[in-house]
C-alpha cells in the first residue's frame, strides 16, 4: 500500500462531529418525548395512587371502586375542625349535630364517594359495543374475504372501510346522535311528535323516533367507531388461515359455509379476539361518541332491570373524567376524585392492552402451520 499514513486522520474530524450532532439531535428529540410521557404518567400515578391504594390491608381503597359518586361537602364544625365528607355522611352528620354546627361550608360536585357508576357504565358500554361490532364485523369480514368476488369494487369497499377507521370520534358521536338517538326505529304504541315516520302495524307503530340518549344508542355508536378496525383485523386473520385448509375441506365435499365454520373461523378466531381486545380498550376510552348518545354526569345505582337499563343513560369513566376536569373548579378537595378516576381509567386501559399483547403472544406460539 502506498502512503499508509493517509489512514491516519489529521486535524479536526468534521465527519465525526456531524455524525455526533445528528445522533444527539435525534436522540434528544426521542428522549424528550419519552420524558414528557413519563411526566404525564408520573403525575397521574403520583396523585392517583394515594386515592386508590392504601398502605394497610387490603391495600386498595375498595370504597372508591364500589361507592356511588356523591357531592363532597367541606365545612368547619363548632370546634373549628375541618371536615370533608360525601353527601350521605354529611346528612347523617347534620341530622346528629344540627345544621347550626356547620360553618364555612363548601360543596364540590361529583367529588365525593366512589366511581362505581362510571366503572359499571363503561363496562356495559364497552361489552355491548364489542358484541355488536363483532357480530357485524366478523360477518362482513367473512363476506369480504370468503364470498365476495375479488376485484376493483371490493378493493374500493376495503379502502372505504380502512378510511372509516381514521374518521375522528366526534364525527361518530354526531352520526350516532343523528341516527341512533333521533332516527332509529322503535316499536311503540304512541309515536313521539318528533318521529320521522310512523308506520302503523295494527297493534303498534314502527316509529322512527330514535332510541334517545341511552346505553344502547351509545353502544351502537361505539360499535360503529370500532367496526372498521374489527372488520380489517378479522379479514386479515381469515386470510392468514392457509388456503390448503379450505381446499382440503371443499375437496372432501364440505359446503362453503361448513368449510368456513369448521376449518377457517376456528383458526382465525384467536386473531380476531386478540385484535378486538385492543378495540375494547379504544371503545372504553373514547368520550366524544358517548357524549351525546349515552353518557350522563350523575346517575343513581342500581339501574333496574336490563331492558330498562338499555334504554337509560349511563355514567362512563371517560365522560366522568371530562366532567371532573372541565365542569368543576379544581381544589385540594377535588384532586382525589380527579386523579383517582384517571388513574383507575389508565389502569383499565393498561390491563386491556397487556391482555391483548399476552393473548397475541400465546396465539402466535400456539397456532403454527
Amino acid at each position: 500500500m502506498d502512503n499508509p499514513e493517509q489512514l491516519i486522520r489529521k486535524g479536526v474530524h468534521h465527519t465525526a462531529l456531524k455524525e455526533g450532532a445528528v445522533k444527539g439531535f435525534l436522540g434528544g428529540l426521542t428522549w424528550g418525548v419519552v420524558l414528557v410521557a413519563l411526566l404525564i404518567f408520573g403525575k397521574i400515578c403520583w396523585d392517583g395512587v394515594p386515592t386508590l391504594l392504601k398502605p394497610e390491608a387490603p391495600f386498595v381503597d375498595i370504597g372508591f371502586l364500589t361507592k356511588e359518586t356523591e357531592t363532597l361537602h367541606v365545612f368547619d364544625d363548632s370546634a373549628g375542625t375541618r371536615h370533608s365528607m360525601p353527601a350521605s355522611e354529611y346528612h347523617a352528620w347534620v341530622d346528629k349535630n344540627g345544621s347550626a354546627a356547620v360553618f364555612n361550608e363548601q360543596t364540590y360536585a361529583y367529588s365525593g364517594g366512589g366511581i362505581a357508576g362510571p366503572i359499571i357504565g363503561t363496562a356495559l358500554l364497552t361489552l355491548l359495543s364489542i358484541v355488536i361490532a363483532l357480530f357485524f364485523g366478523v360477518a362482513a369480514a367473512i363476506y369480504l374475504s370468503e364470498y365476495a368476488k375479488q376485484g376493483r369494487f371490493i378493493n374500493l369497499v376495503r379502502l372505504a372501510i380502512l378510511n372509516l377507521a381514521g374518521v375522528p370520534s366526534i364525527v361518530f358521536g354526531l352520526f350516532g346522535f343523528a341516527v341512533f338517538v333521533l332516527a332509529a326505529p322503535v316499536f311503540t304504541g304512541d309515536p313521539a311528535d318528533r318521529t320521522l315516520l310512523a308506520i302503523p302495524l295494527g297493534f303498534t307503530y314502527l316509529s322512527f323516533q330514535g332510541w334517545n340518549s341511552s346505553l344502547i344508542a351509545g353502544s351502537a355508536t361505539l360499535a360503529c367507531m370500532i367496526l372498521p378496525v374489527i372488520i380489517t383485523a378479522s379479514e386479515e386473520s381469515l386470510r392468514a388461515v392457509p388456503q390448503g385448509f379450505r381446499e382440503a375441506s371443499l375437496a372432501l365435499g364440505a359446503t362453503r359455509w361448513h368449510t368456513i365454520r369448521k376449518c377457517v373461523l376456528p383458526f382465525a378466531l384467536p386473531g380476531i379476539l386478540t385484535s378486538s381486545v385492543l378495540s375494547l380498550a379504544r371503545a372504553a376510552g373514547e368520550t366524544a361518541p358517548i357524549m351525546f348518545t349515552a353518557a350522563v354526569a350523575a346517575k343513581e345505582l342500581p339501574w333496574a332491570n336490563p331492558w330498562v337499563m338499555l334504554q337509560n343513560q349511563v355514567q362512563a369513566l371517560p365522560y366522568h373524567i371530562y366532567t371532573l376536569a372541565a365542569r368543576i373548579p379544581t381544589s385540594e378537595y377535588t384532586q382525589r376524585a380527579q386523579y383517582g378516576s384517571v388513574f383507575v381509567f389508565l389502569m383499565m386501559i393498561f390491563i386491556f392492552s397487556a391482555l391483548s399483547m399476552f393473548l397475541r403472544q400465546r396465539v402466535r406460539s400456539k397456532l403454527k402451520w
Binding site: 376485484g151 379450505r246 381446499e247 382440503a248 375441506s249 371443499l250 375437496a251 372432501l252 365435499g253 364440505a254
Partner: protein, 260 residues
Amino acid sequence: MVNGSSTTVTPAIAIDTLRFNYGAKQVLHDISLDIAPREITAFIGPSGCGKSTLLRCFNRINDRIPGAKVTGGAIRIGGIDIARPDLDLQVLRRRVGMVFQKWNPFPKSIYNNIAYGLRIHGEKNRKLVDERVEYCLRRVALWDDVKDRLHSSAFGLSGGQQQRLCIARTIATKPDIILMDEPCSALDPLSTLKVEELLLELKKEYTIVIVTHNLAQASRCSDKTAFFYLGKLIEYDATQKMFSNPSVRQTEEYVSGAFG
C-alpha cells in the same frame, strides 16, 4: 395424438375435447382422454403444461379460482357430465377425493382429521366413525404409529406421515377416484417410497390419477401415462410403452431428460 386406451371397460373419467381458460388465457387445448378404472394414471409434463389444472377440473375445485372456467368440451365421470347445473357438487367431491401437493392436515387431532369428512356427510354414530378412522389409518399403514396418540395434533407427525394421513382422510369418505397433485414432491425418498407402495395397494379399490414431476415415479407405479406440453395432450399410452418406445418425438425427449 394417440389415444392409448383400447380397453372396452367404461372409463372412470372420460374427457372430451376439453378447453379451459384462466380469464382470457387458454390453458388447456382440446384434451381428450379416457381414464380407466382401478388403474393408476400418471400425468407428466413440464411445469405450466396444464396437468394440475386438468386434475383440478375433475372435482371442480378450480371453481374457486376467479376467472377459471371450462370453455368447451366436457368431463364425464361415470357417464355423468360434471358441468351439469343440477350436479351435486358435495357428492361429486366425496366420490372424487383429492390429495394435495403440500400435505395439509387440519390443525386438529389425528382422529378428527379423518372424522371430519365423515361428519360432513352426516355420520354421527361414534362407533362407526371410530371404526372408519381405524380402517383408514390401517389402510395407509399409519395405525401402528399413531394408535396411542389419536387425539394429539396431526402436526406432530413427520411430513411423510402427514401426507399419508391426508390420503387416509381422503379415503375416509369412500371415494371411487382419488386425485393426487404431486403428492410426493416435498417428501424425502423413503417417505416417497412408502407413498408409492401405498398407491399400488390402493389401486385395487380406487381409480387413481396422479400428477407428478418425478418421471421415475410415473414409470414405477403408473399403468398409463399421459404427457402434456403447453396445454396439449401430446401422448397417452401404457406407461411401459411411453418410457421405452414413445410414438412422439417430444415425449421421447421429455422422458429421456432432454428438456423439462
